[in-house]
């Protein structure tokens, strides 16, 4: 039977046998009346605490919620009963106080069930954002209720004890809340340490001898605290150093602290998370041993968790990973097992994310199209389960930025610019989704893997001694996410992408410039051809002119030589002078012509002046020839 049902049963019994019970109480001395009420209150109080520790809200949410409602109804019944049937003023006060304290406790318990519902029903977009800071909200709320107690407590109860008992309940709710959603921060570490010490103080008080569950609570607080420590260790390890804790002036290693726990199962869970999260060769070996010698049931979620780690990081095997994904996807739970449905949803995402990550890291042949397909598959899973985790974006961004780096470092940047554009557009979209999903995760999701209810239970001699059905530890071996790191990572990717975008813009500009240059070169080539054409024509004309002159001169020369041989020496001299003039003027004009050509080639332009100069030179050349002829 659920502890909360036991509470309800007790309350109903009081209501049923109220008259004889109060008649009996009337015969007691006031001191005994108070003792008697304290006893009842302890009993009811323990029921509420045990119900929280056993995770009954996760086991059967609807039933627990209904029983809390029923218990509240019964309390209101008891209040009604007392008002009308109890005449003894002391008993009236006692009844009111007892009923009110239990009612407040149930209200505090209800706040936990709301929080639980928010986390396990991600599709319900509630206006309540339960995050880390909400713990203080619960605390403040509970304190305001407590202050009301102070007003009504008079001297009847032992007010100190009632306040302390109430504090224990608040701590219990806190621990349950941290087990559902926790930030591995220093304040939370100190909070848990404070909780642990406060509980240890209460546990040693004689008034709380009947509160055996406090010992279980202490173990739970230690366990949650050590998880945060392991997360710190992991972060330290990235900088290459080990983390030790100073406790009571002695330095302790994380292993010492784990060994300090009393619950073997909690020790095993922590040792496993240490190996899983802190990647060293020894730890990998430990995981391998876990995997091989695992006594776990073949189909447990814990076994599947080890399998994913093993086949992804230690002995990569995509087929085996796919098998695990299928196993998760094929699990079906009835509608009323909401916690198991939630656990399965979380795990389906986890397994698919790992598969996606595996493909991006290990599959060298994977092309962009295929990556897009894998991503859309992961997105589909995410949309169906409403677990808006950010891992797919993180992995995809890592992949794309690596690809971009390779492309930008390569020699074909301009040719690859289209691909670079496509990648960068995708990156912009991913960054946007990444940011949204981190925000979602911050408020809703601390543990990326979730065991089903029956794997979260711990039973041992201590739980039995406390009268507890079982201890429920929902976060099991999973460490809480340090979301701040992912915000930083998001920022760093965003910066990287901004840089890449500006490189892309430079490339695009270069591309435009290079196109312009190509066009001009093409145009200039055409111009060169034109110059060559003109030059060719000019040369042809000048060669033609020179040739015709020379041939004309050749015949003339023959005649003239014949004549000259007969003529005087003076005439011969004149002739040679004329020939010399011709050669010199033709040479001068050709030199000027060549000079002009060099200028034209250097400038690569042809203006009117130059054409005019060419024509004049041509006319001069012809004129010179004619002059000679005459």
């Amino acid at each position: 039977m659920f502890h909360i049902q036991k509470l309800q049963l007790d309350l109903e019994r009081f209501l049923k046998y109220g008259t004889p019970y109060f008649n009996l109480l009337n015969t007691f001395t006031p001191a005994n009346q108070i003792n008697s009420f304290n006893g009842i209150l302890d009993r009811l109080f323990i029921h509420v605490n045990l119900s929280i520790l056993a995770g009954e809200y996760a086991e059967d949410f609807e039933l627990t919620k209904a029983e809390i409602e029923n218990a509240k109804d019964s309390l209101s019944g008891l209040l009604n009963f007392a008002e009308f049937f109890v005449t003894n003023p002391l008993l009236l006060k006692l009844s009111y106080n007892a009923v009110k304290i239990i009612e407040n406790s149930l209200t505090t318990y209800e706040s936990l069930t709301h929080r639980f519902r928010q986390i396990t029903h991600p599709e319900l977009k509630s206006s309540y954002l339960y995050n880390d800071d909400d713990l203080s909200e619960i605390e403040n709320y509970s304190r305001s209720l407590l202050s009301k107690h102070n007003k009504i407590l008079y001297d009847d109860f032992n007010p100190q004890k009632t306040l302390e008992a109430y504090k224990i309940l608040i701590i219990n709710v806190h621990l349950a809340a941290l087990d559902l959603n926790c930030k591995p921060s220093q304040p939370n570490f100190h909070r848990l340490e404070y909780i642990e010490n406060t509980l240890a103080d209460f546990y040693s008080e004689p008034e709380f001898t009947s509160y055996e569950f406090i010992f279980v609570l202490i173990q739970k607080a230690k366990f949650l605290k050590l998880k945060i420590v392991i997360r710190f260790c992991q972060e330290q390890k990235e900088f290459g150093s080990n983390l030790n804790i100073v406790q009571n002036s002695t330095i302790k290693t994380i292993q010492d602290l784990i060994d300090g726990l009393e619950f073997e199962k909690l020790k095993t869970l922590l040792k496993y998370s240490f190996c899983h999260y802190i990647e060293t060769d020894e730890n990998d070996l430990e995981i391998l041993n876990h995997f091989k010698a695992s006594k776990l049931e073949v189909d447990s979620y814990q076994k599947r968790h080890i399998s994913i780690k093993f086949y992804k990081d230690i002995k990569p095997d995509v087929k085996e990973l796919e098998k695990v994904v299928d196993q998760f996807e094929n699990d079906v739970y009835p509608d009323n097992e909401q916690f198991n449905i939630y656990a399965n949803n979380v795990c389906v995402n986890y397994a698919n994310n790992n598969l996606f990550s595996y493909r991006l890291e290990h599959d060298k042949k994977i092309d962009y199209e295929e990556v897009l397909n894998c991503y859309s598959r992961v997105q589909k899973v995410r949309n169906a389960t409403k677990i808006n985790n950010y891992f797919p974006e993180l992995r995809f961004l890592k992949y794309l930025t690596n690809q971009l780096k390779t492309l930008l470092d390569g020699n074909n940047v301009i040719e690859d610019s289209n691909l670079i554009n496509i990648y960068l557009n995708k990156c912009d979209e991913l960054i946007f989704n990444y940011k949204n999903n981190i925000n979602w995760t911050k408020y809703n999701h601390s543990y990326i893997f979730q065991l089903p209810f029956n794997e979260c239970l711990i039973e041992n001699r201590f739980t039995k001694k406390a009268g507890l059905r079982h201890l429920f530890i929902s976060s099991s071996m999973i460490l809480p996410l340090n979301i701040d790191n992912y915000y930083k990572e998001q920022e760093s990717y965003a910066n990287q992408i901004t840089v890449y975008n500006s490189i892309k813009n430079t490339i695009n500009n270069l591309k435009i410039q290079s196109k312009k240059l190509d066009k001009e070169i093409e145009l200039n080539d055409k111009k060169d051809i034109k110059f060559i054409e003109i030059l060719g024509l000019f040369c042809a004309i000048s060669i033609f002119v020179s040739a015709s002159i020379l041939s004309f001169m050749g015949t003339q020369l023959d005649n003239k030589i014949a004549n000259i041989s007969n003529s005087s020496k003076t005439l011969r001299q004149e002739y040679y002078h004329g020939t010399m003039e011709f050669v010199i003027s033709t040479g001068a004009i050709l030199c000027a012509f060549l000079g002009l050509l060099i200028v034209i080639f250097n400038r690569k332009t042809l203006n009117r002046g130059m054409v005019l100069a060419l024509v004049i030179m041509l006319i001069l050349l012809i004129a010179t020839c004619n002059n000679i002829n005459s």
Partner: protein
């Protein structure tokens, strides 16, 4: 449906109280054939007290309810209780002509769908003074305007709220179960919310 004979057989105060109670039930609508209310003995008494208190502030017919109908409020440990009503109810095992009151809720003896018919039946029967019934109606409306959530308050919160009223603590400190005077209620700086 409206049971004229049984209704008429009750004392006048209980008749008015039953009418008040039926009007309170109207705040708890039936949902999918499921009818839930937490109008327990204690809760009805506290709500009755607040309704009478609101009436002391009305311009017309000021304090008529507190003076003529429900004029026997006593300061109990858990807040004011109209003792005559309470004792009469106790004598008949918390049973009215159309309602059974319990410590957790009150059960209608007819189908919830017929609630308005029964209320109209009482109003049109001519058994009760129409003006007083109108006064109960308007006081309930005024109370609802002051705090629409008051009807849904848990009995604990209602008790806590009445403990804030000085007319209660004044009488209770004098002597538990001593009368709360209508003049004290009139002079109260009334709070209707926690």
């Amino acid at each position: 449906m409206f049971n004229r004979n049984e209704f008429a057989a009750q004392s006048t105060r209980l008749k008015y109280f039953e009418y008040f109670l039926l009007k309170m039930h109207a705040f708890f609508p039936a949902n999918k054939n499921l009818y839930l209310n937490d109008l327990s003995v204690l809760k009805c008494q506290k709500l009755l007290f607040f309704t009478v208190a609101v009436n002391t502030q009305s311009k017309l017919h000021k304090s008529v309810l507190g003076n003529e109908i429900f004029n026997d409020f006593k300061a109990y440990q858990y807040g004011p209780v109209e003792e005559t009503i309470y004792n009469s109810l106790k004598e008949q095992n918390n049973e009215l002509s159309h309602i059974n009151l319990t410590f957790k809720k009150s059960e209608l003896k007819f189908d919830r769908a017929g609630l308005q018919d029964v209320i109209n039946g009482i109003a049109d029967s001519g058994i009760l003074d129409r003006e007083i019934l109108n006064l109960i109606d308007s006081s309930i409306n005024d109370l609802n305007k002051k705090n629409p959530f008051l009807v849904k308050y848990s009995p604990f919160n209602l008790v806590e709220l009445t403990h804030k009223w000085r007319c209660w603590s004044f009488s209770y400190q004098k002597n538990p179960r001593s009368p709360i005077l209508i003049a004290d209620i009139e002079n109260e700086s009334m709070t209707f919310a926690l």
